[in-house]
Symmetry: D2
Subunit: 261 residues, 4 copies
């Protein structure tokens, strides 16, 4: 069974900037989805900010294994209801991959619980990504380092939580470094942040980048059934205790009552 993947694009500069439009006819999201569909085990479609409910209806996400997110100029325009829905889907098991300027996307900030700040410079400088976790599934088929001749710089400190694993660290020509590939789990969902992808450069046409994205979709996918009860706090009554116990002491709650939230 194929991995159902949505590539979500903010789709603004793709439309308004001639530079971006020429690099990515049809938008960056389309370019990325095409790169993923070369893999016979991935079924990638697209969604954009401009669509109804940003193209991310409950029904569609219920059938989605992995969501890829690219946003930059309009983080604030993303409907909080949709953000909440994305977060809930991740908690229940949907994979989430955040690209580049999505470090400030609402779902990422909410799932990290940190500022997600960094420094930046748009100068078309050289970026070199170094693999720091050899043979991690996400680096399958990659050399120990590869270059992007033109990229926007992002610099440390990157205020995110310690990751499960640091997969890539970037070197920048202007003197900065950045943890460019980071893995997390939140609830039952796998999360991967991947730095490159400024819209004025041909990053998503790069073969190594495409390989990372395909690998990341496979890594983030969790074939197990969604856990839709992650926010519950079920009461296990004394009668249903796994070991026989007798109720003692003083209490506030009646048996089987819902807890406070």
């Amino acid at each position: 069974m194929k991995i159902n993947t949505i590539v979500w694009g903010e789709n603004i500069h793709d439309q308004t900037s001639p530079v971006v439009a020429e690099l990515y006819p049809g938008g960056m999201h389309t370019c990325i989805a095409n790169a993923l569909n070369v893999d016979e085990n991935i079924n990638a479609s697209t969604a954009t900010l401009q669509e109804d409910e940003h193209g991310l209806t409950e029904a569609r996400m219920n059938e989605t294994d992995v969501l890829i997110w690219w946003g930059h100029a309009a983080h604030g325009d993303v409907d909080d209801k949709v953000v909440e829905r994305v977060v809930q889907q991740v908690w229940s098991g949907m994979g989430l991959i955040l690209l580049h300027s999505s470090h400030f996307a609402k779902p990422f900030k909410q799932l990290m619980g940190t500022p997600c700040g960094l420094t930046w410079r748009e100068a078309g400088e050289r970026e070199r990504l170094w693999v720091t976790s050899p043979n991690h599934p996400i680096v399958n088929g990659l050399p120990d380092h590869f270059e992007l001749e033109h990229e926007e710089m992002y610099g440390e400190p990157f205020s995110v939580p310690e990751p499960l694993e640091t997969v890539f660290i970037s070197w920048f020509q202007g003197g900065e470094v950045f943890r460019s590939g980071l893995t997390y789990r939140r609830g039952a969902g796998n999360i991967f942040y991947f730095r490159p992808g400024h819209e004025t450069y041909p990053t998503y046409h790069d073969d190594n980048i495409k390989k990372v994205l395909v690998n990341a979709v496979h890594w983030a996918n969790n074939s197990q059934q969604r856990r839709t009860n992650m926010t519950d706090a079920p009461n296990t009554t004394v009668d249903n205790a796994l070991e026989k116990i007798v109720e003692r002491g003083l209490k506030l709650h009646a048996d089987g009552e819902e807890g406070f939230k």
Copy 2:
């Protein structure tokens, strides 16, 4: 210099439940603050839900090193503006210690980015806490295990992120286990979740519990100057690059312009 500590109490059952009021005259927050003030390096005061701005004004928190939080019945009544303020203070370096039912407190859920769900049972059963990180600063002076004869049960799965370190795991008479002591860092702030403390039991009168709280305040305290710029994304211009580079390629941003958020 003493560690300025606020013990924040929801202060509801402390007032409305005769059981709790008898156990904790003056409220649980007062009992905890008294326990902390025995330590000559801690200066603990209290704040409650009922106070103006819940007692957590910007000015007061700017002078606070560590905030301890106990909430249960009224998580929803905590003003989102105060929650946001607490989160920002943690990011800038204030320590935060969350007790018991505060697993569902707004600041904790926001800082974790996870559902923070669990199972529970109020049966006055025995809890035994096991130290899983020997000689961690938080277990200073404690035996490898200690017991609370009457406690509410919390059971796994506890849907929180993998911690920096698991410090305690609890055994419950009714058959459950729970990761009862977990450390995190979010931004520049240290966070400790500590499970015990149901209001109908004398948990905060227990000597081992008091020792954990004193240790945790010392651990969570960060004497460095607050970092108030954690949410910034400063632009480093080409002219100010640490290594001399020449601007190349196409671009969206004018030099020194603010990034999108």
Copy 3:
């Protein structure tokens, strides 16, 4: 392509103890290998302490994706040369799964760098394993908890490094808890420690345990090419530097010279 798996058994009590021999005719390793071979994507064979080179020749391990290890009474009899070989294979990408009393096996201690101590009691008491990482690949198809009616107790503190993820925590009837499922990566190799499996109980006949083992083999398997150069410290000469630099300052090493080890 199937996952080539070796189940290594110490095979002592399997031969000398009538109790164990009756539970596991052919030895525990055979029972485990049979359980794995039910999965159409696993090809499991066995190896034992008594075989030449303990059945773990370089050639055989080069073709092995995952090694499962069960040892107890004769950790000291395992040839250090074979231990070194196992460690090197893990570093290069072979998965390793350590069962029960293998917490004191030489390869595990060497890969952890810690004492790996614990407390224990052989009383046939009840163990209940709780899932602490919902939807982790290793818990695929499992309920949130399951029981083993008779098991040896292992108790905290378990002196191992903080894992990548804690997957299971056990509750014991006699009052202890234990982190029973822990994941690590060492070099390019995935490592899983799984607690249950005392030889006098029918643990490896339990359906949930078999499911964990099958899942763990899939999780530990890394289909990427082995990295045989993990212990190298290659010198990148100035002439081969990725960015053009000019040699400066004083130096100890001639160009291309090997570093000290």
Copy 4:
């Protein structure tokens, strides 16, 4: 009470290389110890490879809170008995700080359980260290980045386990990056690896480097009593079980018997 600190130096190039001897009269270890002794809470002395038992007797280490290690040319000459002793002391609670080429020192490799490989180049190039964990105790008083004009390059992949926290990442002029400050806990002991410090450069005369070392000694110090029983696996008999249980099922061990190791 002051933090008793030993600065251990291999002390070879300090004696044989005129370059190093001129930079560090008295040896690098003396320079480092002097830098530490400026802090009124640190009491630093030195030890070298050439001393009896390398200056690291059991008695002396029992009184030591933190050991700093610098080795390069003679890792193989360090007596395995002393290595074992250092490892045991770390497990029992002594802090350990490993500098530069000590990534291949025997105690580090043994405590990590990984190859600890990397790439390197001795070209006197510029290194810039970036703080990746703002307000970590080890970066107290440091700017977000600082430079060493001449250093040896170390490059990723650095084959060590995922750390508790990544504190520094280095940028190198020749195009590489490296995780230069990493924290670990092994047993009860805190471990910090810190990259800079090639012997032909004046690194240990740099004010920022001195500040890191002072901070690291404070961080690594654990004032709790040593845990000398970390390698034990004590048997808790049925009679001493914390919860009353009755022995059941078949067994191998007599009550109170020592486990296998």
